[in-house]
Protein backbone atom coordinates (compact mmCIF):
# COMPACT_ATOMS: atom_id res chain seq x y z
CA UNK A 1 0.00 0.00 0.00
CA UNK A 2 1.25 3.41 -0.91
CA UNK A 3 0.82 6.66 0.96
CA UNK A 4 2.52 9.93 1.54
CA UNK A 5 4.77 10.56 4.46
CA UNK A 6 4.15 13.97 6.08
CA UNK A 7 4.92 15.99 9.07
CA UNK A 8 2.01 17.01 11.22
CA UNK A 9 2.02 20.59 10.03
CA UNK A 10 1.77 19.38 6.46
CA UNK A 11 -1.70 18.08 7.14
CA UNK A 12 -2.79 21.39 8.59
CA UNK A 13 -1.51 23.32 5.66
CA UNK A 14 -3.21 20.91 3.28
CA UNK A 15 -6.48 21.41 5.16
CA UNK A 16 -6.03 25.16 5.12
CA UNK A 17 -5.43 24.92 1.40
CA UNK A 18 -8.67 22.99 1.12
CA UNK A 19 -10.58 25.53 3.21
CA UNK A 20 -9.72 28.20 0.70
CA UNK A 21 -12.21 26.67 -1.64
CA UNK A 22 -15.68 28.19 -1.84
CA UNK A 23 -18.06 26.60 0.67
CA UNK A 24 -15.41 24.19 1.87
CA UNK A 25 -15.61 23.04 5.46
CA UNK A 26 -13.60 20.78 7.71
CA UNK A 27 -15.12 18.82 10.57
CA UNK A 28 -12.34 18.08 12.98
CA UNK A 29 -11.17 18.92 16.47
CA UNK A 30 -10.22 22.14 18.13
CA UNK A 31 -7.87 22.42 21.00
CA UNK A 32 -9.53 25.00 23.24
CA UNK A 33 -8.85 26.23 26.70
CA UNK A 34 -10.85 23.49 28.31
CA UNK A 35 -9.53 20.75 26.17
CA UNK A 36 -10.29 19.32 22.78
CA UNK A 37 -13.75 19.30 21.22
CA UNK A 38 -15.28 18.80 17.78
CA UNK A 39 -15.55 21.81 15.54
CA UNK A 40 -16.57 22.66 12.00
CA UNK A 41 -13.98 24.93 10.53
CA UNK A 42 -14.76 27.47 7.85
CA UNK A 43 -12.14 29.62 6.12
CA UNK A 44 -9.08 28.36 7.96
CA UNK A 45 -8.05 26.14 10.82
CA UNK A 46 -7.68 27.61 14.21
CA UNK A 47 -6.25 25.74 17.15
CA UNK A 48 -6.63 22.57 15.14
CA UNK A 49 -6.01 19.27 16.80
CA UNK A 50 -5.61 16.12 14.78
CA UNK A 51 -6.59 13.93 17.69
CA UNK A 52 -9.21 14.24 20.34
CA UNK A 53 -8.47 12.24 23.48
CA UNK A 54 -11.89 12.84 24.99
CA UNK A 55 -15.01 11.10 23.80
CA UNK A 56 -18.33 12.85 24.41
CA UNK A 57 -20.34 12.05 21.32
CA UNK A 58 -19.78 10.41 17.98
CA UNK A 59 -19.38 13.29 15.54
CA UNK A 60 -21.18 11.37 12.79
CA UNK A 61 -24.29 12.29 14.75
CA UNK A 62 -23.95 15.84 13.46
CA UNK A 63 -23.85 14.66 9.90
CA UNK A 64 -27.23 12.96 9.78
CA UNK A 65 -29.43 14.31 7.03
CA UNK A 66 -26.53 16.15 5.44
CA UNK A 67 -27.59 16.53 1.84
CA UNK A 68 -26.32 20.03 1.02
CA UNK A 69 -25.11 20.09 -2.51
CA UNK A 70 -22.19 22.22 -3.56
CA UNK A 71 -20.66 22.42 -0.14
CA UNK A 72 -17.53 20.30 0.30
CA UNK A 73 -17.00 18.84 3.75
CA UNK A 74 -13.80 17.21 4.85
CA UNK A 75 -14.18 14.91 7.81
CA UNK A 76 -11.06 14.55 9.93
CA UNK A 77 -12.43 12.13 12.50
CA UNK A 78 -11.79 8.99 14.48
CA UNK A 79 -12.27 5.64 12.78
CA UNK A 80 -15.45 4.95 14.76
CA UNK A 81 -16.90 8.22 13.60
CA UNK A 82 -15.96 7.61 9.98
CA UNK A 83 -17.45 4.12 10.16
CA UNK A 84 -20.70 5.51 11.48
CA UNK A 85 -20.61 8.01 8.63
CA UNK A 86 -20.14 5.18 6.11
CA UNK A 87 -23.14 3.34 7.50
CA UNK A 88 -25.24 6.49 7.46
CA UNK A 89 -24.43 7.15 3.86
CA UNK A 90 -25.47 3.59 3.00
CA UNK A 91 -28.74 4.51 4.63
CA UNK A 92 -29.07 7.67 2.51
CA UNK A 93 -28.83 9.81 5.59
CA UNK A 94 -25.78 11.58 4.18
CA UNK A 95 -24.91 12.22 0.57
CA UNK A 96 -21.48 10.95 -0.04
CA UNK A 97 -20.85 13.07 -3.10
CA UNK A 98 -19.65 16.20 -1.29
CA UNK A 99 -17.85 14.61 1.59
CA UNK A 100 -14.29 13.49 1.94
CA UNK A 101 -13.98 11.24 4.94
CA UNK A 102 -10.58 10.84 6.50
CA UNK A 103 -10.11 8.48 9.40
CA UNK A 104 -7.29 9.19 11.78
CA UNK A 105 -5.46 6.61 13.82
CA UNK A 106 -6.95 6.66 17.29
CA UNK A 107 -4.79 5.86 20.31
CA UNK A 108 -7.96 5.63 22.40
CA UNK A 109 -10.03 8.11 24.36
CA UNK A 110 -11.16 8.83 27.84
CA UNK A 111 -14.75 9.42 28.72
CA UNK A 112 -15.93 13.00 28.89
CA UNK A 113 -17.33 12.03 32.24
CA UNK A 114 -13.93 11.02 33.58
CA UNK A 115 -11.98 13.96 32.28
CA UNK A 116 -9.77 15.36 34.97
CA UNK A 117 -6.96 17.77 34.20
CA UNK A 118 -4.94 17.79 31.02
CA UNK A 119 -4.79 14.87 28.70
CA UNK A 120 -2.07 14.83 26.07
CA UNK A 121 -3.22 15.36 22.51
CA UNK A 122 -0.25 13.98 20.64
CA UNK A 123 -0.39 10.40 19.55
CA UNK A 124 2.81 9.16 21.09
CA UNK A 125 2.19 10.92 24.39
CA UNK A 126 -1.36 9.65 24.46
CA UNK A 127 -0.22 6.13 23.82
CA UNK A 128 2.16 6.40 26.73
CA UNK A 129 -0.53 8.02 28.85
CA UNK A 130 -2.86 5.09 28.37
CA UNK A 131 -0.06 2.69 29.08
CA UNK A 132 0.43 4.26 32.48
CA UNK A 133 -3.22 4.76 33.39
CA UNK A 134 -6.35 2.69 33.07
CA UNK A 135 -8.50 5.65 32.21
CA UNK A 136 -9.13 4.59 28.63
CA UNK A 137 -12.80 4.17 27.89
CA UNK A 138 -13.81 0.55 27.91
CA UNK A 139 -15.28 0.98 24.43
CA UNK A 140 -11.90 2.09 23.12
CA UNK A 141 -10.01 -0.62 24.94
CA UNK A 142 -12.02 -3.26 23.12
CA UNK A 143 -12.46 -1.29 19.91
CA UNK A 144 -12.42 -3.44 16.79
CA UNK A 145 -10.81 -0.84 14.59
CA UNK A 146 -8.77 2.06 15.89
CA UNK A 147 -6.70 2.32 12.75
CA UNK A 148 -7.35 5.04 10.21
CA UNK A 149 -8.15 2.51 7.53
CA UNK A 150 -11.74 3.43 6.74
CA UNK A 151 -13.35 6.16 4.66
CA UNK A 152 -11.86 7.85 1.65
CA UNK A 153 -8.43 8.23 3.18
CA UNK A 154 -6.62 7.60 6.40
CA UNK A 155 -4.05 9.36 8.51
CA UNK A 156 -1.74 6.78 10.00
CA UNK A 157 1.08 7.38 12.46
CA UNK A 158 4.15 5.20 12.25
CA UNK A 159 6.35 4.14 15.09
CA UNK A 160 8.72 7.02 14.42
CA UNK A 161 6.00 9.62 14.76
CA UNK A 162 5.69 10.24 11.05
CA UNK A 163 2.27 10.89 9.62
CA UNK A 164 1.11 9.00 6.61
CA UNK A 165 -1.84 9.98 4.51
CA UNK A 166 -3.15 6.96 2.61
CA UNK A 167 -5.87 7.27 -0.01
CA UNK A 168 -8.51 4.53 -0.17
CA UNK A 169 -10.80 5.97 -2.80
CA UNK A 170 -10.63 8.38 -5.70
CA UNK A 171 -11.69 11.16 -3.37
CA UNK A 172 -8.85 10.27 -1.11
CA UNK A 173 -6.53 10.79 -4.04
CA UNK A 174 -7.79 14.35 -4.48
CA UNK A 175 -6.84 15.03 -0.89
CA UNK A 176 -3.40 13.78 -1.64
CA UNK A 177 -3.20 16.05 -4.65
CA UNK A 178 -3.17 19.00 -2.29
CA UNK A 179 -0.08 17.73 -0.55
CA UNK A 180 3.56 17.90 -1.49
CA UNK A 181 5.88 15.00 -2.05
CA UNK A 182 5.83 11.58 -3.62
CA UNK A 183 3.92 8.49 -2.61
CA UNK A 184 5.93 5.69 -1.15
CA UNK A 185 5.32 2.30 0.37
CA UNK A 186 3.73 2.55 3.78
CA UNK A 187 5.52 0.71 6.60
CA UNK A 188 3.87 -2.51 7.68
CA UNK A 189 4.02 -1.71 11.38
CA UNK A 190 2.30 1.36 12.72
CA UNK A 191 1.82 2.90 16.14
CA UNK A 192 -1.73 1.70 16.30
CA UNK A 193 -1.95 -1.90 15.29
CA UNK A 194 -4.77 -4.27 14.51
CA UNK A 195 -7.09 -4.85 17.44
CA UNK A 196 -7.34 -8.10 19.25
CA UNK A 197 -10.38 -10.13 18.40
CA UNK A 198 -12.88 -9.74 21.19
CA UNK A 199 -14.34 -12.73 22.97
CA UNK A 200 -17.78 -13.84 21.91
CA UNK A 201 -20.28 -11.84 23.90
CA UNK A 202 -22.29 -14.00 26.26
CA UNK A 203 -24.70 -12.94 28.97
CA UNK A 204 -27.98 -14.00 30.45
CA UNK A 205 -31.23 -12.26 31.19
CA UNK A 206 -30.58 -12.17 34.93
CA UNK A 207 -27.41 -10.14 34.36
CA UNK A 208 -29.27 -8.00 31.89
CA UNK A 209 -31.97 -7.28 34.44
CA UNK A 210 -29.35 -6.37 36.99
CA UNK A 211 -27.39 -4.16 34.62
CA UNK A 212 -30.48 -2.33 33.43
CA UNK A 213 -32.16 -2.04 36.79
CA UNK A 214 -31.33 1.64 36.96
CA UNK A 215 -32.57 2.42 33.46
CA UNK A 216 -35.15 5.17 33.55
CA UNK A 217 -36.03 4.85 29.87
CA UNK A 218 -34.83 8.38 29.19
CA UNK A 219 -33.71 7.08 25.80
CA UNK A 220 -30.64 9.29 25.70
CA UNK A 221 -28.71 6.28 24.51
CA UNK A 222 -30.91 6.19 21.43
CA UNK A 223 -30.74 9.91 20.86
CA UNK A 224 -26.95 10.00 20.97
CA UNK A 225 -26.46 6.85 18.91
CA UNK A 226 -24.93 7.89 15.60
CA UNK A 227 -26.63 5.07 13.63
CA UNK A 228 -30.05 5.31 15.28
CA UNK A 229 -31.20 7.59 12.54
CA UNK A 230 -34.98 7.27 12.42
CA UNK A 231 -36.93 10.49 12.26
CA UNK A 232 -39.77 8.86 14.11
CA UNK A 233 -38.71 6.08 16.41
CA UNK A 234 -41.07 3.10 16.85
CA UNK A 235 -40.87 3.67 20.56
CA UNK A 236 -42.70 6.94 20.14
CA UNK A 237 -45.83 5.02 19.27
CA UNK A 238 -47.88 2.73 21.48
CA UNK A 239 -47.06 -0.55 19.78
CA UNK A 240 -44.20 -1.55 22.02
CA UNK A 241 -44.22 0.78 24.99
CA UNK A 242 -47.72 1.96 25.61
CA UNK A 243 -48.23 5.27 27.33
CA UNK A 244 -51.19 7.06 28.81
CA UNK A 245 -54.53 5.53 27.86
CA UNK A 246 -52.91 2.69 26.01
CA UNK A 247 -50.84 1.90 29.08
CA UNK A 248 -53.82 1.95 31.39
CA UNK A 249 -55.78 -0.18 28.97
CA UNK A 250 -52.99 -2.70 28.91
CA UNK A 251 -52.75 -2.81 32.67
CA UNK A 252 -56.49 -3.26 32.95
CA UNK A 253 -56.18 -6.21 30.62
CA UNK A 254 -53.07 -7.80 32.04
CA UNK A 255 -52.60 -6.69 35.60
CA UNK A 256 -50.19 -4.64 37.66
CA UNK A 257 -47.04 -3.47 35.99
CA UNK A 258 -43.81 -2.19 37.40
CA UNK A 259 -42.75 1.13 35.87
CA UNK A 260 -41.00 2.04 33.72
CA UNK A 261 -41.96 -1.01 31.75
CA UNK A 262 -40.67 -2.35 28.47
CA UNK A 263 -36.95 -1.98 29.18
CA UNK A 264 -36.17 -5.33 27.61
CA UNK A 265 -38.24 -4.48 24.58
CA UNK A 266 -36.65 -1.10 24.13
CA UNK A 267 -33.07 -2.21 24.49
CA UNK A 268 -33.35 -5.52 22.71
CA UNK A 269 -35.30 -4.20 19.76
CA UNK A 270 -32.93 -1.28 19.45
CA UNK A 271 -30.03 -3.68 19.74
CA UNK A 272 -31.46 -5.63 16.84
CA UNK A 273 -32.13 -2.50 14.82
CA UNK A 274 -28.53 -1.32 15.07
CA UNK A 275 -27.03 -4.81 15.09
CA UNK A 276 -25.52 -4.49 11.63
CA UNK A 277 -24.70 -0.78 11.75
CA UNK A 278 -23.39 -0.34 15.31
CA UNK A 279 -19.75 0.71 15.26
CA UNK A 280 -19.24 0.08 18.95
CA UNK A 281 -18.21 3.67 19.68
CA UNK A 282 -19.89 3.69 23.08
CA UNK A 283 -21.70 7.00 22.57
CA UNK A 284 -24.78 5.39 24.14
CA UNK A 285 -22.97 4.61 27.34
CA UNK A 286 -21.46 8.07 27.30
CA UNK A 287 -24.98 9.48 27.12
CA UNK A 288 -26.43 7.29 29.82
CA UNK A 289 -27.04 9.26 33.02
CA UNK A 290 -27.28 6.03 34.99
CA UNK A 291 -23.98 4.55 33.94
CA UNK A 292 -25.42 1.39 32.45
CA UNK A 293 -22.73 -0.64 30.61
CA UNK A 294 -24.50 -0.31 27.28
CA UNK A 295 -21.40 -0.71 25.12
CA UNK A 296 -20.86 -4.21 26.41
CA UNK A 297 -24.28 -5.21 25.11
CA UNK A 298 -24.53 -3.24 21.90
CA UNK A 299 -21.03 -3.88 20.77
CA UNK A 300 -21.16 -7.51 21.87
CA UNK A 301 -24.37 -8.25 20.03
CA UNK A 302 -23.41 -6.34 16.92
CA UNK A 303 -20.08 -8.08 16.65
CA UNK A 304 -21.72 -11.46 16.88
CA UNK A 305 -24.44 -10.62 14.41
CA UNK A 306 -22.11 -8.91 11.94
CA UNK A 307 -19.72 -11.80 12.21
CA UNK A 308 -22.40 -14.18 10.92
CA UNK A 309 -22.29 -12.41 7.57
CA UNK A 310 -18.56 -11.58 7.64
CA UNK A 311 -19.69 -8.00 7.77
CA UNK A 312 -18.14 -5.12 9.66
CA UNK A 313 -20.06 -1.91 9.88
CA UNK A 314 -18.40 1.01 8.15
CA UNK A 315 -15.55 -1.03 6.76
CA UNK A 316 -16.48 -0.42 3.18
CA UNK A 317 -18.79 1.75 1.14
CA UNK A 318 -19.79 -1.15 -1.09
CA UNK A 319 -20.81 -3.90 1.27
CA UNK A 320 -24.58 -4.11 1.52
CA UNK A 321 -26.12 -4.15 4.98
CA UNK A 322 -26.65 -7.90 5.57
CA UNK A 323 -30.39 -7.75 6.22
CA UNK A 324 -30.94 -6.18 2.82
CA UNK A 325 -29.43 -8.92 0.76
CA UNK A 326 -28.93 -12.67 0.83
CA UNK A 327 -27.14 -15.56 -0.75
CA UNK A 328 -29.23 -18.50 -1.83
CA UNK A 329 -26.67 -20.91 -0.60
CA UNK A 330 -26.01 -19.93 2.99
CA UNK A 331 -27.12 -20.47 6.57
CA UNK A 332 -27.95 -24.09 5.83
CA UNK A 333 -28.26 -24.82 9.52
CA UNK A 334 -30.51 -21.87 10.28
CA UNK A 335 -33.52 -24.10 10.45
CA UNK A 336 -34.33 -25.94 13.65
Amino acid sequence: MKGRKLKKGDIESALNEFLKGDQHLVLGFEKGENGVSPKIFKGSLDHYSLLNPVFGANAALYLRRLFSKGCQVMLMLRPCEIRAYVELQKLTQIEREDIIAVSIDCPGTISSKDKKGDVPTEADQLTDYFKSSDSMRWACSVCGERRGVVGDAGVRIDRNGNFWVIPYTEKGETLLARMEGESEEVPAEMLIGESKKADKFQVDMETFDKDFEKCTMCMNCRDMCPVCYCIDCVFHGDEYIPKGDALINKILRSGSTKMPQGKELFHLIRMYHVSQTCVGCGACEEACPQGIPLTKYFKGISERLQGMFAYMSGRSFDEAIPYLTFLEDELKDAED
Binding site: K200, F201, Q202, V203, D204, M205, F208, D209, V234, Y240, S254, G255, S256, T257, K258, Q261, G262, E264, L265, L268, I269, M271, Y272, S275, Q276, G300, I301, R304, L305, M308, F309, P322, Y323, F326, L327, E328, E330, L331, A334, E335, D336
Partner: protein, 139 residues
Protein backbone atom coordinates in the same frame (compact mmCIF):
# COMPACT_ATOMS: atom_id res chain seq x y z
CA UNK B 1 -39.39 -11.42 32.96
CA UNK B 2 -42.41 -9.73 31.50
CA UNK B 3 -45.32 -8.34 33.38
CA UNK B 4 -47.87 -10.80 32.09
CA UNK B 5 -48.87 -13.36 34.64
CA UNK B 6 -47.12 -16.61 34.03
CA UNK B 7 -49.47 -19.32 32.97
CA UNK B 8 -49.04 -22.97 33.86
CA UNK B 9 -48.67 -24.35 30.37
CA UNK B 10 -46.01 -23.67 27.82
CA UNK B 11 -47.06 -20.87 25.53
CA UNK B 12 -45.64 -20.76 22.04
CA UNK B 13 -46.37 -18.05 19.53
CA UNK B 14 -45.78 -19.11 15.96
CA UNK B 15 -45.62 -16.97 12.89
CA UNK B 16 -46.80 -18.93 9.89
CA UNK B 17 -46.72 -17.84 6.28
CA UNK B 18 -50.03 -18.09 4.48
CA UNK B 19 -48.78 -20.10 1.57
CA UNK B 20 -46.89 -22.90 3.20
CA UNK B 21 -46.89 -23.30 6.94
CA UNK B 22 -50.38 -21.99 7.60
CA UNK B 23 -51.64 -24.35 4.90
CA UNK B 24 -49.78 -27.19 6.55
CA UNK B 25 -51.37 -26.31 9.87
CA UNK B 26 -54.79 -26.34 8.23
CA UNK B 27 -54.05 -29.75 6.86
CA UNK B 28 -52.87 -30.93 10.26
CA UNK B 29 -56.28 -29.87 11.51
CA UNK B 30 -58.18 -31.65 8.77
CA UNK B 31 -56.20 -34.79 9.48
CA UNK B 32 -57.04 -34.40 13.19
CA UNK B 33 -53.40 -34.48 14.16
CA UNK B 34 -52.83 -33.36 17.73
CA UNK B 35 -50.40 -30.83 19.07
CA UNK B 36 -50.25 -28.90 22.33
CA UNK B 37 -52.84 -26.16 22.71
CA UNK B 38 -50.13 -23.77 23.87
CA UNK B 39 -49.15 -23.37 20.24
CA UNK B 40 -50.94 -20.41 18.69
CA UNK B 41 -50.37 -19.06 15.24
CA UNK B 42 -50.20 -15.59 13.83
CA UNK B 43 -50.86 -15.74 10.12
CA UNK B 44 -48.60 -13.56 7.99
CA UNK B 45 -48.57 -13.37 4.20
CA UNK B 46 -44.90 -14.27 4.05
CA UNK B 47 -42.39 -15.18 6.70
CA UNK B 48 -40.47 -12.08 5.63
CA UNK B 49 -43.26 -10.02 7.20
CA UNK B 50 -42.06 -11.11 10.62
CA UNK B 51 -40.36 -8.19 12.25
CA UNK B 52 -37.85 -9.48 14.81
CA UNK B 53 -39.44 -6.96 17.15
CA UNK B 54 -42.56 -9.18 17.20
CA UNK B 55 -40.47 -12.05 18.43
CA UNK B 56 -38.84 -9.96 21.15
CA UNK B 57 -42.19 -8.60 22.18
CA UNK B 58 -43.74 -12.05 22.39
CA UNK B 59 -40.91 -13.32 24.56
CA UNK B 60 -41.10 -10.43 26.99
CA UNK B 61 -44.86 -10.57 27.19
CA UNK B 62 -44.51 -14.07 28.50
CA UNK B 63 -44.22 -16.49 25.63
CA UNK B 64 -42.05 -19.45 26.47
CA UNK B 65 -41.06 -19.77 22.88
CA UNK B 66 -41.56 -18.29 19.46
CA UNK B 67 -41.16 -19.86 16.09
CA UNK B 68 -41.08 -18.37 12.66
CA UNK B 69 -42.09 -20.72 9.90
CA UNK B 70 -42.21 -20.32 6.17
CA UNK B 71 -41.77 -22.04 2.87
CA UNK B 72 -38.59 -23.94 2.21
CA UNK B 73 -35.83 -21.70 0.84
CA UNK B 74 -36.42 -21.31 -2.87
CA UNK B 75 -40.13 -22.04 -2.62
CA UNK B 76 -41.25 -18.62 -1.48
CA UNK B 77 -44.50 -17.49 -3.03
CA UNK B 78 -43.01 -14.02 -3.05
CA UNK B 79 -39.97 -15.39 -4.83
CA UNK B 80 -37.22 -14.42 -2.41
CA UNK B 81 -38.90 -13.38 0.81
CA UNK B 82 -37.82 -16.31 2.93
CA UNK B 83 -34.15 -15.77 2.13
CA UNK B 84 -34.44 -12.47 3.96
CA UNK B 85 -36.33 -14.18 6.75
CA UNK B 86 -33.54 -16.68 7.05
CA UNK B 87 -30.94 -13.94 7.49
CA UNK B 88 -32.96 -11.93 9.95
CA UNK B 89 -34.15 -14.77 12.09
CA UNK B 90 -30.76 -16.45 12.08
CA UNK B 91 -29.31 -13.17 13.34
CA UNK B 92 -32.00 -12.91 15.95
CA UNK B 93 -31.29 -16.44 17.05
CA UNK B 94 -27.65 -15.49 17.41
CA UNK B 95 -28.74 -12.59 19.58
CA UNK B 96 -30.93 -14.87 21.67
CA UNK B 97 -27.99 -17.18 22.00
CA UNK B 98 -25.91 -14.30 23.34
CA UNK B 99 -28.59 -13.76 25.98
CA UNK B 100 -28.56 -17.49 26.82
CA UNK B 101 -32.10 -18.03 25.64
CA UNK B 102 -31.45 -19.75 22.36
CA UNK B 103 -34.12 -22.33 22.98
CA UNK B 104 -36.84 -19.74 22.87
CA UNK B 105 -36.66 -19.08 19.16
CA UNK B 106 -36.85 -21.50 16.30
CA UNK B 107 -37.01 -21.21 12.57
CA UNK B 108 -38.87 -23.85 10.56
CA UNK B 109 -39.39 -24.53 6.93
CA UNK B 110 -42.68 -26.32 6.48
CA UNK B 111 -44.30 -26.70 3.09
CA UNK B 112 -48.03 -26.79 2.49
CA UNK B 113 -48.06 -30.55 2.30
CA UNK B 114 -46.02 -31.17 5.40
CA UNK B 115 -48.71 -31.33 8.02
CA UNK B 116 -46.92 -34.00 9.92
CA UNK B 117 -43.66 -32.11 9.86
CA UNK B 118 -45.49 -29.10 11.23
CA UNK B 119 -46.91 -31.11 14.07
CA UNK B 120 -43.58 -32.76 14.80
CA UNK B 121 -41.74 -29.47 14.81
CA UNK B 122 -44.12 -27.65 17.12
CA UNK B 123 -44.55 -30.63 19.41
CA UNK B 124 -40.84 -31.08 19.68
CA UNK B 125 -40.34 -27.45 20.51
CA UNK B 126 -43.13 -27.58 23.05
CA UNK B 127 -41.73 -30.64 24.73
CA UNK B 128 -38.28 -29.20 25.03
CA UNK B 129 -39.56 -25.95 26.50
CA UNK B 130 -41.80 -27.87 28.82
CA UNK B 131 -38.89 -29.90 30.07
CA UNK B 132 -36.83 -26.81 30.68
CA UNK B 133 -39.70 -25.16 32.44
CA UNK B 134 -40.17 -28.17 34.70
CA UNK B 135 -36.48 -28.23 35.48
CA UNK B 136 -36.55 -24.55 36.35
CA UNK B 137 -39.54 -24.98 38.58
CA UNK B 138 -37.87 -27.87 40.34
CA UNK B 139 -34.74 -25.86 40.89
Amino acid sequence: MGEAKKKDGVEIVGFACSFCTFKASEMAGSLRMKYPEGVKLVQVPCSSRVDPAFVIKAIFEGADGVFVAGCHPGDCHFIKGNYYTRRKIAALKEMFDAFSMKEKLRLFWVSAAEARRFVEKVTDMHNELKERKNEREKA
